[in-house]
């Protein structure tokens, strides 16, 4: 019988000792594997380990076993490889892509040009003809509140201080600029009352002007939140939150199998994903391919051919919660 235990739910808070390393669970006779994407030295873009995978957005063809008891997990098919990603432990809140680079194609330039990552040459006109826009597919916006804001330069530094910049579909002007420790910002909060899947951040000016210093663009669902830099969908960081590394599975064809020996019927499988941090006891693991990817994001995976004692299980549960951001 398989017993499924979710220690993140049932256990009392346990601090992970800084010295705890799941690889240390493997004694001399133990067999199994341990993978942790945060150990980027174990990641490669090729199955032969000839090219390291260290940057968010890079596909991972190989992850080496950190227990030293097993082999690597490999994917030879280019399209079936997971992607290395990082996100803040606080979770992703900024819905925008390329939050500091208006030259990226995610920002559509209609009648204007972005001459540098934070500089736009606006022309006079209305917001449907001359604008910079990023459209976001949010599934269903009706009844949802979104908070848009960006860092803007002090008005005195603008080439045309009489220009007005608009953000979002609700108009906010420079008159609403608020200076905080983090932002010199224009902010707009909108609650949508119509159906539809798309929202956007729109920037336009009512006079021809060049505006530089536009940065820290952010749209969040619900309330305002601390700024998160979004380099890509796989590269999200927040200054006040530690970063978590994960392997992204697209849910269509991705897999990263490791070849295991027969580990018997009392094996332990432990993993941390976006869906769960779980320790599965009494598992039967037959010889063959074992896909380490669980759910959309994998933070850690351990397979060992024995049961864990209570102390080991408690430390491992705390570790799984920590690497997946469930605990600070």
């Amino acid at each position: 019988m398989k017993i499924v235990t979710d220690f993140s739910v049932m256990s009392r808070p346990v601090r992970v000792g800084r010295s705890f390393n799941p690889a240390g669970l493997f004694g001399g006779a133990d067999r199994g594997v341990f993978f942790e994407p945060a150990q980027t030295a174990s990641l490669f873009q090729t199955t032969t380990a000839s090219l390291a995978a260290t940057l968010p957005g890079q596909s991972v063809a190989r992850i080496n076993d950190l227990s030293t008891k097993g082999g690597p997990a490999l994917q030879a098919i280019t399209a079936a490889r997971p992607v290395l990603g990082i996100l803040p432990a606080s979770g992703r809140k900024n819905l925008l892509l390329h939050s500091e680079d208006l030259t990226q194609s995610a920002w559509l330039k209609q009648g204007v040009s972005a001459t540098a990552p934070n500089t736009v040459a606006f022309v006079a006109g209305n917001n449907s003809a001359n604008r910079v826009i990023q459209v976001l597919d949010v599934g269903q916006r009706n009844g949802q509140t979104f908070y848009s804001r960006l860092r803007v330069p002090p008005a005195a530094q603008w080439s045309d201080p009489t220009a007005t910049l608009f953000v979002g579909s609700t108009i906010a002007t420079l008159a609403s600029v608020t200076a905080t420790a983090e932002w010199q910002e224009i902010a707009v909060q909108e609650t949508y009352t119509s159906s539809g899947a798309f929202i956007g951040m729109v920037l336009w000016a009512n006079k021809a002007t060049v505006i530089s210093g536009l940065e820290k663009m952010q749209v969040t669902k619900g309330a305002a939140a601390a700024y998160q830099r979004v380099g890509s969908v796989y590269d999200v960081t927040e200054a006040s939150s530690r970063s978590l590394a994960y392997l992204y599975r697209d849910g269509v064809d991705d897999a990263l199998p490791v070849t295991l020996p027969d580990l018997g019927s009392n094996a332990t499988i432990a993993f941390a994903s976006d869906q769960a941090a779980s320790i599965l006891t009494g598992q039967t693991v037959a010889a063959g391919a074992f896909d380490i990817l669980r759910h959309q994001r994998l933070f850690a995976m351990l397979v060992i051919d024995r049961a864990l004692n209570a102390s080991e299980a408690q430390q491992l549960a705390a570790y799984l919660d920590k690497v997946s951001g469930r605990t600070p």
Binding site: G57, A76, I77, A79, L108, D137, V233, D250, D253, D254
Partner: protein, 129 residues
């Protein structure tokens, strides 16, 4: 940029030739495998989703050539099949605000770029079987 491709069941062989020509080796012959998705007419599709770089997009826009790794003497890639798949592939970019995303069709390869795989399959009106 993430690209998600729906391949009609009868075109899997050609699609895998194209995947090899745009990919990194013979393992890419397995890019499109079982047809596990279907449209509302019960037509079946094999799907693949991956991160594509600018080079991939550029290659797709020009006539497919044999990659350097397929150097012979017996070639792995059937270029005729790869080019047939290339010709039948329609790529829609999420940044395209002028046209609607395409539904999957049983006589062509349909690709959506710039959306998550889950959202792309939804736009193509495909459901898992």
């Amino acid at each position: 940029m993430r690209v998600t491709i729906a391949c009609p069941e009868g075109m899997i062989n050609d699609a895998n030739q194209l995947a090899m020509a745009l990919g990194q080796g013979v393992a890419d012959l397995q890019s499109f495998r079982a047809a596990l998705w279907q449209d509302d007419q019960a037509n079946r599709y094999a799907c693949a989703s991956f991160e594509a770089d600018e080079d991939w997009i550029t290659k797709l826009a020009t006539e497919i050539q044999r990659p350097g790794w397929d150097s012979g003497p017996s070639y792995a890639i059937n270029l005729t099949g790869a080019r047939r798949a290339q010709t039948s592939l329609g790529l829609w970019l999420a940044s395209d605000t002028e046209t609607q995303p395409p539904a999957a069709l049983p006589d062509r390869l349909t690709a959506i770029a710039g959306l998550s795989a889950e959202r792309a399959l939804e736009m193509m009106a495909l459901t898992a079987m």
